[in-house]
Symmetry: C2
Subunit: 238 residues, 2 copies
């Protein structure tokens, strides 16, 4: 009845999600959202509720998509162990420098808000439990296939794989190089995704890894600004 929505709610929610994902909840203002959606404040409030509700909708959209993508990735008919190993294959970034990694929206939101916002916390918990469960199933299959030790506890290994995955996800944000990330994935395959037979004969891993280098970036010299009447603003790095 009456006037219909002038915009595609789902598409808008996707745009909003991207904006929140790139800046986080606190750092994203309603003006930002108006800009990227092209909507007026009134429309946003009418369609999605206040900032927090809008954020939750965007986050749910993301988390559902992630869950489904993970499920899909592990539903192919390839051998289970191969599917697991693929999760830990990262490019070694041989081509050029990479931009700063912003990371997974759900992970970032969990870190920013979960401690103080139970809705975010619950959503995170549900999602990670689900992923953990999917991992465990595939682990179980790989175990049945004889590609993992018979002593493997699927739930336990599934959870550990999730942990490693999230650890990588985090370290990428700290500026770790693609090569190092690649190495971690490789090590995970070597140490956690091997069968019995492998462990029986102590075959030395052949991979050589460059030692940690501690080249400290030159500390930026503190520039004492002369006191001036103009308000100093810190430009946001983009």
């Amino acid at each position: 009845m009456a006037r219909p929505r002038q915009f595609d709610e789902v598409k808008m929610l996707a745009v909003v999600r991207d904006e929140f994902a790139s800046k986080g909840f606190e750092a994203t203002s309603l003006d930002d959202l108006m800009r990227v959606t092209g909507l007026g404040k009134g429309s946003i409030y009418a369609a999605f509720g206040d900032k927090h509700q809008l954020f939750l909708s965007a986050l749910r959209l993301y988390s559902d998509a992630t869950r489904n993508a993970m499920h899909a990735a592990l539903s192919s008919d390839k051998p289970a162990i191969e599917k697991l190993r693929m999760l830990f294959q990262f490019p070694d970034g041989a081509n050029g420098a990479s931009k700063p990694y912003r990371g997974c929206f759900l992970a970032n939101s969990t870190t920013e808000l979960a401690a103080h916002d139970c809705e975010v916390r619950d959503l995170a918990r549900q999602t990670y439990q689900a992923v953990e469960g999917i991992f465990a199933e595939v682990v179980e299959q790989a175990k049945k296939d004889g590609d993992l030790p018979s002593a493997t506890e699927p739930a336990e290994l599934g959870r550990l794989l999730l942990t490693v995955m999230q650890g990588i996800e985090f370290l990428r944000k700290s500026g770790m190089t693609a090569e190092e990330v690649h190495g971690i994935g490789h090590a995970t395959e070597q140490l956690l995704l091997r069968g019995d037979k492998f462990w029986a004969r102590a075959k030395p891993s052949a991979r050589a890894v460059a030692g940690s280098t501690f080249k400290r970036p030159p500390r930026k010299k503190q520039v004492r600004k002369p006191a001036s009447a103009v308000k100093t603003v810190r430009p946001k790095e983009r």
Copy 2:
């Protein structure tokens, strides 16, 4: 010369650090900082510079302390393998429910800011490289002691241990139970901190783990508020 500082800068920085640690950079206002320090705005600016500089100082204080603590924890004269295993021993939380976990200040700041703030990113990278290096040293010692397989690559395993550690750190924020965290630590010990001899004979791990449960919390019904003139404010969960 002239009037001396009326407060202990280091103590104040510690207080500021705690405030930033509990709320994050964006969500902490200057008013918050004035409140917890008891200082006026002018004093804060005179002593520490603007909000961002102050934040960095607090973060450096934290990161140095963390690094030192980690170094200390791994410098005892216990066997290397034992020191490593201790890193992954978490309480199983048999006693009651735990409050939401806020997490490591450096990790949180990395997630919130590293993508857009190179100073934070650099500090994070330095710190995690250092920790990784410490881990690698201890791994190397454990390997020499014969407590880790002779094929172990210290740098690689050190990095993987750091990854697991950060993964746990993250998952705790998502509301994972202490018992599950305990289990992950246990699995880490079992799967990554075992020597050759262990792997030779395929001893089944005895630990049973409860499967994932998917009890979905009831979606809070959307309450249509009657339009009223008062601004609705979302109370901050504490």
